[in-house]
Symmetry: C2
Subunit: 469 residues, 2 copies
């Protein structure tokens, strides 16, 4: 197999195995970015390029998407640099020329960025972010920009569906343990919060982003004690407040009775039981029986919190069956976006050196040029349609993409997450009813501007020139 040797460099350095704390390394990219950059460097190709990141097609179970991850993208661009140690390592691979390594060592992001504000509802073909910079810079950042923006957008978009399924309930992200690594857990918590979750179990997300944190207790706590009653009592006495007792370790209804029996003694010590948690079994039946037990025992203000394999469909079914559940811990199926664990998205060259560019690969043609989205509303404030056209083709409607970086510097401080949450809430409010359904497909009207269509047609002609070349 000739290919078995393809591109495998002689690695001269010992692999480093220290604990990873390098999400910010610029080497977190695909080799071909560096390979192309070396070619651009040698060719002297450093004119201005514009790339746009967009979603080609919605997943089957999504009627809309919510833009998220821009703040992390801006931070990445602001801090873009390849360290001296990284340059030395690159030199040792033998794949790069010394003058190119020198170029990499000095590389910073000096370009402009236009983007949808985080929390904006958007649709296929609409640019989420446009990077306009000297070609090598705009190319190099592709991998990490997609990595940051597609994940948070995917999670925020699914989380918004959970909020639609349970608008008045407490929703808490429980996903960290089954998230795909550390950053997925951390940024997933952020994306859920943006979309309207009340908070997360993730302590680091609370520290980093100021997201409210929530916690209950695990089965292991109950199991570590010789009996369940002692476990409940001791746990209640150890917490300052917000006591939530997990009642399904042995038998849920028996445990609910114990909670009722314990409540008066705990109340005398100043402890009230905020909620009980169910994590297994038939949640409709159990929540009704437990509600009856609690109410009969006078614990009418003790809530019921449920968890275990939940997503927007399960939550909707529970509430449709009148399960008296006040809050949901949503973990695995949410943090993995199990029904759509990736978005069909691309970061494509739209313009280089003042000329629009277009890709023609079978089934993957793109709309050329730098684009803007103009949003049109109904009289009642709800969304009517979007017009996608060239930036240069100014049209009526609200332009959605805003300039967030110029010459490599951000134009404004990070938006408070509260602002982003409010944007999501108001935009979801403005969505046509059909698009808000979580179990019925509905399409939003996105029109393509005449100027955009005309350019695409002109370029279909020039395609032949490029091909002939």
């Amino acid at each position: 197999m000739p290919l078995n040797e393809l591109g495998a460099p002689q690695l001269l350095t010992e692999p480093q195995t220290e604990t990873m704390n390098d999400a910010s390394s610029t080497l977190l990219t695909d080799l071909y970015q560096l390979t192309m950059l070396q070619a651009y460097f040698l060719e002297g190709m450093d004119e201005i390029a514009s790339f746009e990141l967009f979603v080609r097609k919605l997943p089957r179970e999504r009627n809309f998407l919510i833009a998220a991850g821009l703040e992390q993208a801006v931070q990445f661009l602001e801090n873009l640099r390849i360290t001296e140690a990284e340059c030395e390592w690159l030199a040792e691979t033998g794949q790069f020329r010394p003058e190119f390594i020198d170029f990499l060592a000095k590389l910073r992001f000096t370009g402009d960025v236009d983007a949808l504000p985080e929390g904006t509802v958007f649709f296929p073909d609409e640019p989420i972010i446009r990077v306009t910079a000297p070609l090598p810079q705009a190319q190099l950042v592709e991998t990490r920009l997609i990595n940051l923006i597609q994940f948070q957008t995917m999670i925020a978009s699914k989380a918004a569906r959970c909020v639609l399924a349970a608008p008045d309930k407490l929703l808490v992200d429980f996903g960290l343990r089954r998230a795909h690594g550390a950053e997925a857990g951390l940024l997933g918590a952020r994306a859920c919060y943006i979309a309207g979750y009340s908070g997360s179990s993730n302590v680091l997300a609370a520290q980093r982003f100021g997201i409210p944190m929530y916690g209950t207790m695990a089965h292991s706590y109950v199991m570590a004690h010789d009996d369940e009653r002692t476990a409940f009592e001791r746990f209640a006495c150890s917490q300052p407040d917000d006591i939530v007792l997990l009642i399904d370790t042995y038998d849920t209804e028996t445990a609910a009775e114990k909670v009722v029996e314990l409540a008066p003694a705990l109340a005398r010590q100043g402890h009230s039981i905020k909620a009980v948690r169910l994590d297994s079994g038939d949640l409709v039946t159990l929540s009704k029986r437990v509600r009856t037990i609690l109410d009969r025992g006078g614990l009418t203000s003790t809530g019921i919190f449920a968890s275990g394999d939940l997503d927007e469909h399960a939550i909707e079914r529970l509430l449709a069956a009148d399960a008296p559940i006040d809050g949901f811990g949503v973990g695995t199926r949410m943090i993995t976006s199990v029904d759509a664990p990736y978005l069909n998205c691309a970061y494509k060259l739209q313009e280089y050196a003042g000329k629009p560019r277009r890709k023609y690969s079978q089934g993957k043609q793109t709309w050329p040029g730098c684009k803007q989205v103009f949003r049109h509303y109904q009289a009642d404030g709800s969304l009517h349609h979007d017009l996608l056209t060239l930036v240069s083709d100014r049209q009526d409607g609200e332009p959605l993409l805003q300039t967030v970086m110029q010459s490599g510097r951000r134009l404004a401080a990070a938006e408070p997450l509260q602002t982003v949450r409010e944007r999501v809430a108001s935009q979801i409010e403005q969505l046509p009813e059909a698009l808000r359904a979580i179990d019925r497909k509905a399409d939003y009207r996105v029109e393509y501007g005449l100027a955009l269509k005309a350019l695409a047609e002109r370029m279909a002609a020039t395609r032949h020139a490029a091909m002939r070349g």
Copy 2:
């Protein structure tokens, strides 16, 4: 809604928004771990506990799993500590008592770890890792241990299926951009490599783990040039070797003809074209036509590399249709484990203070006690069955779990990835034929030891005591 206030602390500090480089923070955990630890601290519960991490049930499309992530888990345990700044932040949340914060500041991992060596084939109910430590330590590490081990295990297990589908082909991880964040991209590349991939496009994975890195070129490179021929020529001249040209930006067959035309001139300059890459369209038809064009043009040693929505099923179909493809770039569907984006796994308390423990939640009962797996082989060296029983119940067969940490220290240096790769290769070789099929479900025989069954039965009796308590 009383629950809407549940557990939401007053966050006194400004959220920190710096670039994340804190995968190693011990705050990357669920709040309930800290809540339970505070209770254990106040109760003086710090006797030895054993927890085991295991998979309850295989995903529908998996006949076996490959253990991966142990090295990162050991590093996490070795470095476990909550920093002074983190303790201060925890104190400011108002949820923890000062004496407990002091306890956290001094907390280190001092326990023992037994685990399946990375690369071991395993099945449901078999412990991947057992942590034996004072209860607070063993509890605290749950979230991150699952986060590290379930992800890499999931990816290695799917990657092994790709290797089974294309045993003699070049397989390269292209997943970084659609990975769920930075760490998923990095550890996913590692997991693919362990499972037998040739390498990854991920530069950081190459630097960190010594994984061979591979790269080609992007459509944007072709599009940034005025014509495709110039793009090919310039790219070829900029690379030291291992030139791979992407030929589907405009028209694949036309581009293949151009490669043939360019080859003699490039050869005179000392450049040979290692391969062409197809990224769209009908890969069976296109690869055959391109092979014909290349062969007719004398480029018989130029390979064909394919990418685009690939997974083990797509690869198997391509090879079954005799597509003359020498290597595959496998990205999105692999790095997200799209057909099974999580494993149904749990980290459960098996023993505390010398007594075995068991969970009885509906549908989630566990096997109690500390367990070992004894593997039995056929005469020809292939796997026959596993016997799962208590550690104390010594049986014939190869014991799979090995002690990797004692008193908080690792017993051996990190295994070279090459060793782990060889283990995977030999274990896959030993799998019964039926389990190696990627499109047919087959079950491996896991027997439960008499001692284990007897303990489970004894505990079913004591359950009633715990419930009555």
